[in-house]
Structures are given as structure tokens and as C-alpha cells.
């Protein structure tokens, strides 16, 4: 089974702080995604990456950036956290051998910005 590990399950930050959310996968998957999950809004794609050092904007990239220096790691960065970024953040991966569209999700990182 693919393991997608999000390093922080719960974080509490203050407005204006820089926040790093880390995601690591252990199955050599090419594609990695960051979503945020909000009640009533579903899952919205923030950024994704199909290769090392490659990134593409999703539907709601404003206020976020990402980094993919190694194939197994995909980081989501909030340069200056704001209260409207309080949310559950989900990392997901897909690989050619698992089915290009079958997402495997991490457990999520619940971020609260005060």
C-alpha cells in the first residue's frame, strides 16, 4: 500500500506566521497534490506537481506556494498565514502504476490560524 504521510496532524499558528506543511510518500509516485477540505465547499485543489521541481497552480493557489525538491516530498507553504486559511489540508498522490487518476490521500493536517 502507498503510504502518504503528513507530518503534522494539528497545527495552531498566528496570523502572519509562515507555515510549512510537509507531505512524504514512499511509493515512487510521480504526481502529488495539495487540497483543502472545508465543510460545504468540498475539496479544492491548491497546487499540484507532476515531477521534481515542477509545480502547477490549482483552483485556489492564492496565498500558497509549494516546493518539490525530491520526488517523495511535496511541501505546502503559507508565506503569511491568515484566518481564512484555517482548514483541513490534504495531500494526495497518484502514479502511473496505480492508475493515473486514483488518488491516495494522507491523513490530513488541520491548521488553525488565530
Amino acid at each position: 500500500d502507498v503510504k502518504v504521510t503528513q507530518s503534522s496532524r494539528y497545527l495552531v499558528k498566528r496570523t502572519g506566521e509562515k507555515v510549512f506543511l510537509e507531505c512524504v510518500q514512499d511509493m515512487d509516485h510521480e504526481n502529488m497534490f495539495w487540497y483543502r477540505q472545508d465543510p460545504g465547499l468540498g475539496l479544492r485543489l491548491i497546487y499540484f506537481s507532476y515531477d521534481v521541481k515542477m509545480k502547477e497552480k490549482g483552483d485556489i493557489p492564492e496565498g500558497y506556494s509549494v516546493s518539490r525538491e525530491k520526488k517523495e516530498r511535496f511541501s505546502l507553504i503559507l508565506e503569511s498565514a491568515s484566518t481564512n486559511q484555517t482548514s483541513m489540508y490534504l495531500c494526495a498522490t497518484t502514479g502511473h502504476h496505480s492508475g493515473a487518476n486514483v488518488l491516495t490521500f494522507g491523513a490530513g493536517s488541520r491548521l488553525t490560524v488565530l
Partner: protein, 111 residues
């Protein structure tokens, strides 16, 4: 642009009753559709995909291109089916894909 609509935020049924979770999509290309499920305190996971044409945990979903729908059905709901369900549409951009999700339907199966 592609869109996925799940018209019901909440759906409540009794155990043993049939259940249908609605999903409609808009996309000009050839769609690939999925249902994902999240049980309480568990990770979001794939339930089924339309190209597999299989039944998972008693659930089925048929792609209706004429009605642009992919409704999820189960003839006899069980309490353990209580969960959040998301319909998702895969869009191909070049050789890569990304998924667009609906807003989700919270299913509660009452005893």
C-alpha cells in the same frame, strides 16, 4: 470549465432503505468519474470508478452521458455506510490529469 455538482449536502435514510447520492457533471470532453468516501476519523479513499463497472460494498454507479450524471446507489443501506461521499471528475491536460471534486454529501444511515 469542468464542474461537479452534488445537490444534497445532507442525506438521511433508515437502515435497509435504498439510497441514492446524486452527482451531475459538466465537461465537454470524455469524462472519467469517481466516488470517494471518508468514514469518520479515516482517510479519504476511493470507493469506485466508472470505468471499473464494479460494485463496491454494495454500491454501484452508472455513468449517464445523456443526463451528465453519475449517481451512487445502494439498494439496502447499512449503518456502516454513514460517511461523507464525494463525486470527482478527472480532467486530462496533456499527458497529466487532475481531479475536480463536488462539495460532498454527508450520508447518515439511522438504525
Amino acid at each position: 470549465a469542468q464542474r461537479v455538482t452534488q445537490p444534497e449536502k445532507l442525506l438521511s435514510v433508515f437502515k435497509g432503505a435504498p439510497v441514492e447520492l446524486k452527482c451531475n457533471y459538466s465537461y465537454s470532453g470524455s469524462p472519467e468519474l469517481f466516488w470517494y468516501v471518508q468514514y469518520s476519523r479515516q482517510r479519504l479513499q476511493l470507493l469506485l470508478r466508472h470505468i471499473s463497472r464494479e460494485s463496491i460494498k454494495g454500491f454501484t454507479a452508472d455513468l449517464n452521458k445523456g443526463e451528465t450524471s453519475f449517481h451512487l446507489k445502494k439498494p439496502f443501506a447499512q449503518e456502516e455506510d454513514s460517511a461523507m461521499y464525494y463525486c470527482a471528475l478527472s480532467v486530462r491536460g496533456g499527458s497529466n490529469y487532475k481531479l475536480t471534486f463536488g462539495k460532498g454529501t454527508l450520508l447518515t444511515v439511522n438504525p
